[in-house]
Symmetry: C2
């Protein structure tokens, strides 16, 4: 048994004028709770330090850049790394990254139990749009503010297991999990910010959005025989509701624990990384069962091309 006790640290809403330092204070409280609960690893959401700013249309580059971090850790986030190290706790943290050469990414890091950053990920599947869209109930401008990730989907050997990361919309794409599954991933960590209503279809409300969240995460876990830990920023932020539903899913695709609120809330589960082995050796033994000679379109063609009418 290779046990890792994971705490999913769901965050309630962060309003537009809430300083990062106050958010970090909330996160430290959750981290202390996680320690009390015996956690070895804490998982925070996507863009955990601020409001989900891509809902706001901005043109001024200084204003845009004010939402980004220029280094990690930095003065505001260092207490998180120090506290995690003191607690002997690994950490996943999502944030907006501005690189020294001016690139913008929706990023996450994984730190080991000494607080050292061992892996970095940049969101590949950016949802939404790049220009103001008057047809939507609200904006979702990730394609405006971020470039698609340029690091692929690596995995890291750390904390006695094989860990991968993705962010929010990545979780709806089976390619995300499969690329990590092909590297033997045992636990995927991911954060998300998901509006409770589809901005282009008001009939798709929180119940369906939570259903799609579960479905995507559970399928990714099952089909790659991996743990998946998915953690939300939730609740009414800047007047716009987001789903909670943070959850930890086992390698059979079953939900082990799920958040009940849309506020700051810890979900904790003791995960056995060896529970991934049965699926990887039997029904999802890729070496025996996959037939890559028939998968070519997945890697050669981006968009759908229906047959001629």
């Amino acid at each position: 048994m290779r046990k890792v006790t994971v705490a999913g640290a769901q965050l309630g809403p962060i309003q537009r004028d809430e300083p990062r330092a106050e958010v970090v204070t909330r996160m430290l409280i959750l981290m202390d709770e996680a320690k009390q609960a015996g956690a070895d690893l804490i998982v925070f959401p996507e863009l955990a330090l601020t409001t989900f700013f891509p809902r706001w249309y901005m043109e001024d580059s200084a204003e845009i850049d004010s939402w980004f971090e220029r280094e990690m850790p930095n003065a505001v986030t260092r207490p998180l790394f120090e506290r995690a190290a003191r607690h002997g706790m690994g950490m996943y943290l999502g944030y907006a990254e501005l690189t020294p050469d001016g690139h913008h990414f929706n990023s996450s890091i994984i730190a080991d139990r000494t607080g050292a950053i061992v892996g970095m990920y940049r969101k590949v599947h950016l949802p939404g749009h790049a220009e103001f869209d008057p047809e939507r109930a609200f904006q979702h401008l990730e394609k405006r503010y971020f470039e698609p990730g340029d690091l692929g989907f690596p995995v890291w050997r750390t904390m006695d297991g094989i860990f991968g990361m993705c962010i929010c919309n990545d979780r709806r794409w089976p390619e995300t999990y499969r690329v990590m599954g092909l590297q033997g991933v045992e636990m995927v960590l991911l954060g998300y910010n998901t509006p409770s209503v589809n901005s282009q279809n008001s009939a798709e409300g929180p119940e369906r959005r939570l259903f799609h969240n579960r479905l995507s995460v559970q399928a990714g876990a099952y089909q790659n025989s991996t743990w998946v830990v998915a953690v939300a920023k939730a609740g009414i932020e800047d007047g716009f509701p987001m789903i909670g539903g943070s959850l930890i899913v086992n390698p059979e695709g079953r939900i082990m624990v799920e958040a009940k609120t849309e506020a700051d809330e810890l979900i904790v589960h003791a995960c056995d990384l060896d529970a991934t082995l049965f699926g990887k050796r039997t029904i999802f033994d890729f070496a025996r069962h996959r037939r890559i000679e028939h998968y070519g379109l997945i890697c050669s063609q981006t968009g759908a091309i229906p047959p001629a009418p």
Copy 2:
């Protein structure tokens, strides 16, 4: 609206000594019921004409070949095609195929509303094993009796839509749906025979097997914004139980109708092929959102290769 009313024709068990002609009689009854229910298309299971013979270890090639069809239609199955044509009903039919040059496949066909075969599929993802395995509670010898399909995952424009096929274990592999999704598939038809207990893990019983069936089908539908019609052969066959749970899933991944028994049973739903459009134009608009530059491993590497320890 492009409406196709689909009848999933779940079959109860077929015992080893039950002649194909008797099975066809049962299928014709379901077909007449489907006509009464207004169906335009009927979907039968995988290996619909016989017991699930891969549970039996055989060495004699004549005995093995006795489970296969050498042409389609043939004398025994022609009444199905004639009745479907008379009813103006399309048909999906799974059967064991022996080609004129001696190849064995686990195959299916789709016939249009005139009874003409317009598409053929050969199962790509063969589960199980090739030699007798004394460690299993029962055998699953698909890798012994079939070659992996050599036709890929084509789609067909027929019956005013874009249709694809797959078979049983294919439904657990996201690559299956994605290759069809990249060709604009609007409805995937599939049959299955799934033991109610995992032959290598007796704790995995019918509840979890039904859960995995639903999860795989729902995720494939949602992530490609396509209808999926999944139809079981079910019940206790040759003494071995198989799950039912035939279901029709909409392009949002929601179950529209699900079988209640493990016997011959029809499930019917009026499916609007235009309901696929919203997902294909928004969250799963592949051309805007997929990032094939990061998917390479999916097509270049068959088995999992974990990072060096």
